[in-house]
Symmetry: C2
Amino acid sequence: MTETHGKYDSGCPVAYALDILGDRWSLLIIRDMAVRGAQTYGALLEGWEGISTNILAQRLKQLEQDGIVSKTRDPENRRSFRYALTAKGRDLAPVIVELVLWSGKYNAADNAMTGLLEKIRVDRAAVEACIRAGKTP
Amino acid sequence: MTETHGKYDSGCPVAYALDILGDRWSLLIIRDMAVRGAQTYGALLEGWEGISTNILAQRLKQLEQDGIVSKTRDPENRRSFRYALTAKGRDLAPVIVELVLWSGKYNAADNAMTGLLEKIRVDRAAVEACIRAGKTP
């Protein structure tokens, strides 16, 4: 836990980003919100990569502290919470897009998903605009 | 070690990228080669964030296995090695650029470095072209 959120304090912008995103799960949680439209703890737990509930809870808390994710009570069910990306989180749209393009070029696995990649290749600006608007692309 | 390079096998391109880059150090090593022009183990060890020698050695080996970094004997000193980014590694240029732009927007720390950020804001394409050509921007 400390390893993933120690502070480099070097002042380098890449290090700043990795202080927040430099672990195996944070960007996948952000992807689940931005691309899969996950809004609840249960939906996030059912992601494609099988995140464990303790890691999800810890990462969500950290992402909230880092200003990437907001947590609000569900207006339709006051005992539940809704998770959403903040503007700071949605502004990661071009980072996600570039990671997808890079993987699309180099991932030769048979099971490589290409749905989002195709959308980005057709109209990258539209995909980024969707994510920035809080809509699934 | 296993934690940073287990395989998600979900087929998602974001997961593919994080299988290779999803830790606190890999992208900083890539930055040191792409932006600071580090070519030797010693130069990489003297990065801004104080990487330890055992983590550096492990990550370099993994980045070689993942096809991001090449390691060759120094022609001027056959007892030393030179490290360089492969085309796959240099193709991370736009990912680095987007991370720098995002951090430039949100990192309010007094010690935030702005040199590369300014260069990207002035001429993003030139910065990416430099990194892709294996030159420091």
